[in-house]
């Protein structure tokens, strides 16, 4: 019999996807170059040529079975070792191969991590603004996602609200830094305070509380930003990484879970991920993609365009009188809308072919997200349009 739950879910399409669809349709009418589509977080810079070369080389260097045969369940051993070594070298945490579980990017990493450290009915806390896909990611595991209201001052953590929501049923805290949609990185002070708070609560409750750190934007950090590596602050951390944004390969679905070696049962987490894989149909990312990513472990695409675009947009938003916190990374900016109703604001912007995403689905009313992973030339061309929109609609 057809599952009612999943059938019903089909009727609530993603706001972001709907707006992207609109932008696409509008582009067909007036030319895509004339639509200022700030909806999707799709990398706009090319993959490093080394990645494509690695793929080509692998098809000639390795035998068919070595290249295309089953990976061991936790992933390609060499890739896992290379990643562990890279993280150890860069962040000073003594990861070994056994702490790395290869995944189909961050979505899959979170799917495994949450199942490792929760039982059905347990609570997982995250902080607004947050990526709306966390709802299906967490709730379909059987755990329950709870969202702490935003600290709109600077989009660091709202600790007062967090303390009020904290309770014994919380088994995991899910953070995303640098953050989609705010663009803000959690500072060393924030992470230290978070760690101290969680250590105290572990003591008080008598059980571990795991920190699941969603880090697809880890390599996209701007000048002057304080964006430290989360796992350095708290032992019970599962770092969920994706190469989607750093190597511009979101379609290849490659990432990993890195288990802090000091975490509770650290040596068991990867074997547990293997068991979880069996039930959710994961069973490893593509073997050639694992190997190619390992060959590019310390590379990134040329990510500089994102900072260029951010600075242009940030200055423009400030000039136009928007309340906006300067992003420390990612390719998102998250200004306050010029009226309380962000949906109405974004609807008005659409009349000018400026396509922004209202903040409501990110768990904060009254803001909007602009994804500036587009050509700088287009960002520049959008500025007079933005000025016109603000002047005509809001008299500024």
């Amino acid at each position: 019999m057809i599952s009612k739950k999943f059938k019903d879910m089909c009727n609530t399409p993603s706001v972001i996807r709907a707006l992207a669809g609109y932008a696409n349709e509008r582009g067909k009418e007036i030319g895509y170059g004339n639509v200022f589509d700030y909806t999707l977080g799709n990398p706009s810079v090319p993959v490093p040529e080394e990645f494509n070369k690695a793929i080509r080389d692998l098809t000639t260097e390795l035998s068919s079975s070595a290249l295309h045969g089953y990976s061991p369940n936790p992933g390609n051993p060499e890739a896992r070792s290379i990643i562990a070594d890279s993280l150890k070298r860069r962040f000073g945490i003594p990861y070994e191969q056994k702490h790395i579980f290869m995944t189909s990017a961050a979505a899959s990493a979170i799917a495994h991590a949450v199942r490792c450290v929760t039982e059905p009915g347990d609570e997982v806390i995250t902080f607004a603004p947050y990526f709306p896909e966390y709802n299906p990611y967490i709730n379909q595991s059987g755990a329950v996602l709870k969202v702490v209201p935003a600290n709109t001052e600077d989009f660091q953590i709202n600790f007062d609200a967090f303390e009020q929501m904290m309770n014994k049923k919380v088994q995991a805290v899910l953070i995303n830094t640098p953050n989609n949609p705010s663009g803000i990185a959690y500072s060393s002070a924030t992470l230290k305070k978070l760690a101290d708070f969680l250590y105290a609560k572990q003591e008080e409750y008598g059980h571990e509380i795991f920190l699941i750190s969603d880090e697809p934007y880890r390599e996209i950090v701007f000048k002057g930003a304080d964006a430290p590596y989360v796992s350095c602050f708290y032992d019970n951390t599962l770092s969920c990484y994706s190469y989607s944004k750093s190597l511009s390969i979101p379609g290849e679905r490659i990432g990993y879970v890195a288990v802090n070696p000091k975490a509770k049962d650290a040596d068991m987490i990867v074997p547990m991920c293997v068991q979880i894989s069996r039930g959710i149909g994961h069973n490893c990312p593509s073997s050639i993609i694992q190997m190619a990513a390992a060959r590019c472990v310390d590379l990134t695409s040329d990510l500089s365009v994102y900072e260029t675009n951010m600075n242009i947009l940030y200055d423009e938003f400030v000039k136009l009188g928007f309340t906006v916190v300067k992003p420390g990374g990612t390719f998102y900016i998250f200004p306050k809308a010029l009226e309380d109703d962000a949906v109405a604001f974004c609807e008005k912007a659409k009349k000018y072919d400026l396509i922004f995403v209202p903040s409501d689905s990110f768990g904060v009313p009254g803001y909007f997200r602009a994804a500036y992973c587009i050509d700088t030339e287009k960002v520049q061309r959008s500025l007079p349009v933005l000025e016109k929109f603000v002047k005509e609609e809001y008299g500024k």
Copy 2:
């Protein structure tokens, strides 16, 4: 807090993996060429060169974003169309793009299919002998796997036992033909009888019963075997395919769900799979692998070695007095052990460096599986060892 369920699962390793590990260790001692390792279903023939060429070509033909960007949620549209067209041409069922959902091979296809057509607590019936991974595949979805005892006469379906176990809670029936581990393909007569039975039960219970057809061995069919396409017999069929065995690319994790266009809510199943993906962290197979598989849609590796090996082994088992049903496909054969306790039989065989998998974990006592996806030369060399084993241990 660490999940007790998944931690406990780590303590029950797979029998097959354990034996494969033993074979590997033994190979280090006496030389791998001297171990007759019949444990793993790992393709032994190389990928078609066209697949590697497709991968290389794609890295130069397409732009970075066209190649490595996000696939739409149900998978690459062109790949889906190519697969639909191929199935339509080959099997006469009018599949369209909208009926194909790209998956990370059959494990992922089954993970999606079972969630589409069951609610937690529903029953899914399968038939012994069966692939033991069906237990985590089904049970972790929230449904409950029930196993119909084998028809050891010919390893077609045991309809008497099936009828007794059938009840209103059964929402799906999961079959695997050609079958791992028996090597048997369900005949037209079997599938017709199964379809008639399910149609009658749908009527009687007043709800659909879906047939989930696991088909990784669909292209490995031997001369004279009656191995028809399952979906031709029953409308409510979800075909779960994998390229792992037909293209010898199990590490690349690529396959699909094909929804029979006459199935209940046929146009909704793929959108439902998209929703399911969000919760289990699937979010598409690798984009380059989807495209490369589509370019090889009607190709296979040179699969002839499997039939050669099967004939050699079958004749030998018959000669030595084993009870054995001749396989119609796959790269498995499933003879009756020479004593009631298949585990004891396989332990004795190990003394001769013949590594077989006892049948107990496949849901049938007293048999063993030999996976003959190995070099024919090695199969030949194993024959005198097999004769010696049988003579010395069983006086035959």
